[in-house]
């Protein structure tokens, strides 16, 4: 794992990954959007609103994926002190917050025609909202501690504590009542959704994932540069 601890090596690798992932994301996005908006037929129950699924569901998946990524990176940073793990965690937070926001907004927009209201305090919706707050808290903590090393450790502690909390919230809120769809793709006994819908969905999900990778590379390089800039500035001030 410490192979990529060398920042120069990482920068080189990121320089290769970023354009490829970006291009992949763009292509998949175009294909996915075409399928979702044009090819897929309207649902017999939900009509054309079903198309919202192709952005809503991948956003929701990414919202959860980003937090797991962030928590794992934080754990690596705290336990193995890997020098890039902090940066990976910090860089993924705004992306995750962005996707969580999108999951909330697209879900709300879908909810209005389907449930007749923009918002209900249903289990899944509530836990996504709280996930959004966790992202905000994480980013605010980074922002409010000036010293980079201290901020990294403090934020990592928070990320881990938050990670324990996420499943707890999910299960506790679950015992209320649920209006939201139960899982139909990520299930033990295989997806229960028509293949004509499944494929575009998977393509969109892959596009989002590629977008995440490309963006993560860009943001990690930015954070790495900012760290170097700070060090140089500090050295300059005192010399």
């Amino acid at each position: 794992m410490h192979y990529f601890a060398n920042p120069a090596r990482f920068t080189r690798l990121a320089g290769i990954i970023q354009p490829w992932a970006g291009a992949l994301a763009a292509i998949l996005l175009v294909v996915g959007l075409y399928l979702a908006l044009v090819v897929v037929p309207a649902d017999y129950q939900q009509g054309d609103t079903v198309r919202i699924m192709f952005v809503h569901v991948p956003s929701a998946w990414m919202a959860m994926f980003c937090y797991s990524f962030l928590a794992v990176a934080s754990a690596i940073a705290l336990i193995w002190k890997h020098p890039l793990a902090d940066l990976a965690a910090k860089a993924s937070a705004p992306i995750g917050a962005g996707f969580t926001f999108l999951a909330l907004v697209t879900g709300s927009i879908w909810g209005k025609p389907m449930w007749g209201t923009w918002w209900v305090w249903d289990a899944r919706l509530t836990s996504v909202l709280i996930l959004f707050f966790l992202y905000l808290g994480y980013m605010a903590l980074w922002q409010s501690i000036e010293d980079g090393q201290k901020a990294a450790k403090a934020a990592a502690v928070l990320a881990l504590v938050g990670a324990i909390n996420v499943p707890i919230i999910k299960f506790s809120v679950d015992w209320w009542n649920t209006l939201h769809q139960p899982a139909s793709v990520l299930r033990m006994d295989g997806p229960a959704i028509h293949p004509s819908m499944l494929w575009p969905l998977l393509i969109m999900a892959l596009a989002f994932k590629a977008y995440f990778v490309a963006l993560l590379m860009a943001r990690m390089r930015m954070e790495l540069n900012l760290r170097r800039i700070r060090a140089l500035r500090l050295a300059e001030r005192t010399s």
Partner: protein, 61 residues
């Protein structure tokens, strides 16, 4: 109603479907451009700082 109009009408749900897709694309684009711009700017600042430093070191030498 022609094909195009039908497509944009989204079976009467245009008011929901299009904003949903639009906001997703807008947020993703904004995040993308903000990140790439931040990264570019950081590269430039870093290069400028390093240049300064090299200059100063050669001045001192």
């Amino acid at each position: 109603m022609d094909g195009m109009g039908q497509f944009f009408a989204m079976g009467g749900y245009a008011f929901y479907v299009w904003p949903a897709f639009a906001i997703v694309l807008v947020v993703m684009a904004l995040l993308w451009f903000a990140s790439v711009r931040g990264w570019r700017k950081s590269e430039q600042t870093l290069a400028a700082l390093r240049r300064n430093r090299r200059q100063r070191e050669s001045d001192e030498a």
